[in-house]
Symmetry: C2
Subunit: 337 residues, 2 copies
Amino acid sequence: MAERHRNPTIIDVAERAGVSKSVVSRVVSGRGSVGEETRRRVLDAAQDLGYVVNAVARAMVAHRTYTVGVFVRDAATPFYGHLLTALQERAASHGYRVVTATGSGRFAVADEHRALETLVMLRVEALIVCSGILPAAQIVPFAERLPTVVAGRPETHGSITSVFCDEEEGGAALADHVVDLGHRNVAVITVPVSNSVTMGPRTAAMARRLRERGARVLEVVGPHREMAGGWATEILRHPEITAVMAPSDRHAVAFLEQLQLRNVAVPQDLSVTGYDGIGDLVSPLIGLTHWRQPIELIGERAVDTLVRLLDGEQPPDHHQALSGSLVVGRTTAPPTR
Amino acid sequence: MAERHRNPTIIDVAERAGVSKSVVSRVVSGRGSVGEETRRRVLDAAQDLGYVVNAVARAMVAHRTYTVGVFVRDAATPFYGHLLTALQERAASHGYRVVTATGSGRFAVADEHRALETLVMLRVEALIVCSGILPAAQIVPFAERLPTVVAGRPETHGSITSVFCDEEEGGAALADHVVDLGHRNVAVITVPVSNSVTMGPRTAAMARRLRERGARVLEVVGPHREMAGGWATEILRHPEITAVMAPSDRHAVAFLEQLQLRNVAVPQDLSVTGYDGIGDLVSPLIGLTHWRQPIELIGERAVDTLVRLLDGEQPPDHHQALSGSLVVGRTTAPPTR
DNA sequence: TTGTAGGCGTTATCAC
DNA sequence: GTGATAACGCCTACAA
């Protein structure tokens, strides 16, 4: 539990090389000029001692950590896992490290707040928040303190910068696809905005567009995948329904599992759509028709925007809504009745 | 790019509260005794200024960071994503933060080495390495420097502590299942150990056990999922084969996709097995027969072991091989020919 | 209980 | 080109 065997410092290296610690500092930091011969001796000494720069001490005096903090709600979810990877890569290409604070999906808002505070303690230079439930009000205090970008969710709060995929566009486009196929009675598995600021607006957009196009809509409230059995029971009670729109690929697959159990054929008896297009569920084995979010792009834009903020520039857009794309699979087809 | 607006320090708080910085330090760190009235004033002042402890400075003097470094090869894969989450949670429960260094799966060994060095620069107190390709020789120098645990891969190097799922057991058990069903001609999609220290031994164990049980084995070398088309072509050239064992769930699904394209029925024409049991591919919709790795347990054990090492204790086992479990789905059945 | 005086490992600013 | 020296923000004896 106690401090480990002390790491060698520039002072140790200096002694061994027979120079002052200033010289060592210049050599290892690459600033200032040092004689070629001296540089060699220092490098050798450092090598012998296994010296590695202490980023903590460096941050102390430089007032910089070259670190951005990323808060992800649940890295075990494909969506956030991919987003995290994209963020990490992009940040590295800008010379920034990433420190991650993760919830497990079961964290309360209070815990999420504490996680953000931890990142501030570590003196990350900026924050990227990826959570579909943390309310904007909780984020604002942090955004006022250091550059902050909300990624992966449609956040339009005035004092928060954000990068996300346009949920309205996606939901509407998917609804268009369903109507274009000829469906007139459609069920939408909706999610309250209070449960998710992504799936909420998304499913709302689906229902709205369906109605605009003249379809009749049955809204089934289904925030959690575990409730798939319930959706199936309710939806199958309405034989006029020929298509079902789910709030995410995972919800869609959970529903497909239920249909399989009940021997309902897809897409013959029922068309089904998903949403996200991330991870293993895009397998052609399932062939799920869905809306694909450009997750890598979200990650890249989020980091690029953050770097602009760090450089004191104004980002191009306060709220960047990126476009996704429709992926037509084998789970949707014209209605047979 | 420059330093942000300076954060308030204990000195600022001290001035505002009209006390010395020592008092503030005692209050915020919770050590030493402070008068109740004084404590209140300090807390108020801290609140007003928005003071947040500087973990960097604290680490500087304490020679401790309460941080463990986790290197994961690719957080976007379900296996590593889940492992990362499990590690993070467990570490938090022990009072440690986690700093993650991630590759994208396309990193060269040299880059992975550099990533580990970055973690050392940050003065993490211990290391958890999760990578199926980084050779032990690269890890040893770090393990000599600070407590290190390799998680999720069968690492039996003498000077490295490790926690993993027993690949021999899993491969053999899965092979037993196949033979027990009556299959006598089986294809195994093998992976060279040089490509993966998990899938390599695992597939080798499958082939070995199959032969021990009297089955004839066709080994198809297939490190990458993109090669699934090739496997299918080769395997279907051997009509006597009635079962195929893949190195992972993802490989199995890639293969299933190919079979679907070629109208080969599973499990009627061919039985197929996977391996891992992590993430969305376990969906009953696919019903893949596979070996399930206890990933949460691996994460917990890895952290617990690390904490023991940090406390100067000897871990119970140098190499902990955990047991997985067989999950029988609908992709395996007795052979029909 | 409270204040004073180092010192942690680095970088930066000066003289030399 | 090189070497003292002063911070950086915090903790910790030790003294008052």
